[in-house]
Amino acid sequence: MSAKHIMQQAAPRNESYHLAQSSDIGHAVTCGLKFKLPRVMGAIPEGNESFIPGFIAHNVLQSATETLGRLWRTSPTPNSQQIMETWSPYMHQVFADAREKQQGDPESNLERYISQARTRLLGLAGVLHDKMSQDPAPNRIVSEITITNPVTRHEGRIDAIFEYPEYAETVEWKTYADGGVSAYDRYQTISNGMLVNYRYGRAEDDFTGNILTVITPVKAHNPRPTELALDAIKEARTYMLQVLDGQRVRANLPHRFVCGSCSYQSACTFYMGDRVDSDLKRMLWRRRFRILKKRERTHVNKFLAHRLSQEQLTELRLAESGYRIEETVTAVSSTHGMNTLTLVKQNNYQNADLLYIGDSVRIIALEPGMPLLTCVSCLGSIIESNGSSIVVDVYLGNPNQLRGFQILLLRIEVDLTRRELEGLDFVHRNPGRVQNIAYGLLGEDLFEFAT
């Protein structure tokens, strides 16, 4: 069978390839519009800079989590100061990067945010100290792992999984939370837990070997995956996929009193009573769905990776295996925050016709017994290729945990659609000059729509 036939059978053009993200499911369960506003309309959340300390702390944890396993095994009851010391090189790196960006900005509150981030990390270390004193050390900790389940069309990035011999623990860091967890946090964690179940070969709603944990700077929570919550998640997922496919589906709305604290309040008010000229409105919506279609195309390779064997993927030149990590260089330049990874092609593999400088790839560690799209992976772009080895700039994920595994490179399409949707939202919501210029770029008479 020719490559084209294999492709057509594995990924027919009339099928839908949208994926529902766990983070969006968390929103969609609580408010259907809160999913649609950023993901379909392109609205940008409003608000102050209060998210920055949490954001900085989360950046530290992205790379520092891998050190926890070693510390847990060598010193089972470390105090929070010891944990902070282990994290300290990562903190310095992240703080230095943030300072570099803000250098010389007199209005910057960065030092205050860094101090808040440090306090939150100290809080998290305290909670971890309690946890490490009570629980045995896990066999392995994997962090920042992206799991795609093409069967349920569900995808999510899990902060950490603590792997024990008999079970796994799905861990979410909530660096911005002060104590309790919101409904959003709960649903997001449960949907990530569903993906973890899929990774270990269980039904997505079988939580028998999966503990859910949300760790805030104050305490650890264990959200319960009740039947009610699982049904709500599945319903929200179906709703999201229908919306992305362009179907008209009624959004479930929350009680109005929660809208006061929503970061999409003004966008929501605007779109609820949208009075923009009908021609412009029609054109903008048509373009939005074209962009969503483009986003959908970026997921096709994931479905192919799920449906085809590694040999078929190689034959189609979509994937290339037989690499191992030679060397990881973390943060070559603190200014640019660049991680590079050298992958060496093993001798017994033929060099396939896949990789070129500038190509984007998902670097997948082939973990035995795990579905391909649930294995530990990073995203990167190729910056050097000489036939026997390649150098990749890793822009998402932690490359150190790929060590020791055979590596498969899956070619991916970079999804740049978020910015395009945001541009549409800007044009939609800014009448007058902006809309005139937008029309000008469409070749329309600039002043026709101004009147």
Partner: protein, 420 residues
């Protein structure tokens, strides 16, 4: 009427009439959005850089230079940096502080890296900032450029940009009446790809077809010699493109000795446009195609040029299919000549260009080489000589209307050689 300042610019930079007209319209008229349509070799990047430097130095404006691809942004910035130093005498240090580049550092060219910055203060004080469209405006979190902080947006290669991509930097444009956007490009070269993988309309095509009055055409090419200029002009630009006499007469100079052997006709300097028909068939490689016989002929051609003293850096080889690029690169290994895809040759030029059409089949299927925009890029990169290495049958001649017109033009005005 031209101002004294304008006369100075025109004399110093030797702008031609269409370039001067386009620049004058962009700097001294009230139209906030306009396009500059530049066919191959007409100097659109040069005009874009001139607009940017004039707007900074004479109108004291702040400029955002953007494009879809990183390489295009870097190329425009390279011109700007050169102009600021040579024409305005700015020191290296001032240029470094005035011209900045943002985006993904891994994708920035080495010579532009010194201009790369993530520092907000440096970016606020810079006069010209270069970025890809998608990195131009970050609404939250890592925002580096402030809204309403630019007076002018210069968008290069806008034929490749969809309207929604062109709208991304709009929040950065100031509200003042003199705020402007100029879209440079050529929509008859590579176009954006739609979700169903077919070419779609870019902003410049919208502007050109819907409101032609806001688009200036640059009609003098400094790249294509005779008869290439006539082929490109007739096939793609309705005969509107022309070249100055010295460009039309430009010819390759070979070291002593007359080329001999079956490919001698292709190598001779007087044959500036050549089609080499190869009998070998295409091979399917995954979802793509390869052609070993064409690769071997290209290897022989390159050897012949190198034997006559042509420096390898003066030869560019391109193919539309990636497996074929790899095969050609493997047969050219050690010669110093490299092969790349047609898409990556957009904006590039070289003295000798060899194009491999790859496809050769009984069903006359040219694949995506049937796109006129792709064929335009593929046949307009040469300064002195274009050699098309295609099939000896009818795949290229009858593959599509545009390839047929190119084939007929070469057969009647250039040289046709068959290789078995």
């Amino acid at each position: 009427m031209l101002t004294v300042y304008w006369v100075k610019i025109c004399l110093n930079s030797q702008l031609n009439q269409s370039q001067t007209q386009a620049l004058e319209n962009r700097l001294y008229t009230e139209i906030p959005v306009a396009g500059v349509w530049g066919p191959p070799g007409t100097g659109k990047t040069f005009v874009a850089a001139t607009e940017a430097t004039c707007a900074v130095t004479e109108l004291d404006q702040r400029i955002l230079v953007c494009a879809f691809q990183n390489s295009t942004v870097d190329q425009t910035l390279r011109y700007i940096v050169g102009m600021l130093k040579s024409r305005y005498g700015w020191s290296q240090d001032i240029v470094r502080r005035s011209v900045k580049r943002i985006g993904s550092v891994a994708k920035v060219a080495d010579d532009i890296i010194p201009h790369f910055s993530t520092n907000r203060t440096e970016l606020t004080t810079a006069r010209i900032v270069g970025t890809t469209l998608h990195s131009s405006y970050v609404p939250t979190g890592h925002r580096t450029l402030q809204p309403l902080s630019f007076d002018r947006i210069i968008m290069d290669e806008s034929g490749q940009v969809t309207p929604e991509q062109a709208w991304i930097p709009l929040p950065l444009l100031g509200n003042a009446d003199n705020a402007r956007i100029t879209a440079y490009g050529d929509d008859v070269q590579l176009s954006p790809i739609s979700p169903d993988l077919t070419p779609e309309k870019g902003v410049l095509r919208y502007m050109r077809t819907m409101n032609n009055t806001s688009v200036d055409m640059l009609n003098t090419t400094y790249r294509l010699n005779w008869p290439s200029v006539e082929m490109t002009s007739d096939v793609f630009y309705y005969g509107a493109l022309h070249a100055p006499q010295e460009v039309r007469n430009r010819r390759l100079v070979l070291d002593e000795g007359t080329p001999k052997g079956p490919l001698s006709e292709a190598v001779r300097p007087e044959n500036t446009l050549v089609y080499v028909g190869v009998t070998g068939r295409e091979v399917e490689e995954g979802l793509s195609y390869d052609n070993h016989q064409q690769a071997m002929v290209i290897s022989d051609l390159c050897s012949e040029f190198l034997r006559h003293g042509v420096d390898p850096s003066r030869i560019s080889v391109m193919a539309a299919y990636r497996p074929h690029v790899r095969t050609i690169n493997s047969v050219l290994d050690g010669t110093g000549v490299g092969c790349t895809t047609v898409h990556r040759m957009l904006g590039a030029e070289n003295d000798i260009v060899i194009l491999a059409t790859t496809r050769s089949n009984s069903s006359r299927d040219l694949g995506f080489m049937t796109q006129p925009e792709l064929l335009n890029v593929a046949t307009s990169r040469q300064l002195m000589k274009l050699i098309i290495v295609g099939d000896a049958g009818e795949t290229f001649a009858d593959g599509c209307r545009t390839s047929g017109r190119i084939y007929n033009f070469v057969a009647s005005r250039g040289r046709y050689i068959t290789m078995n």
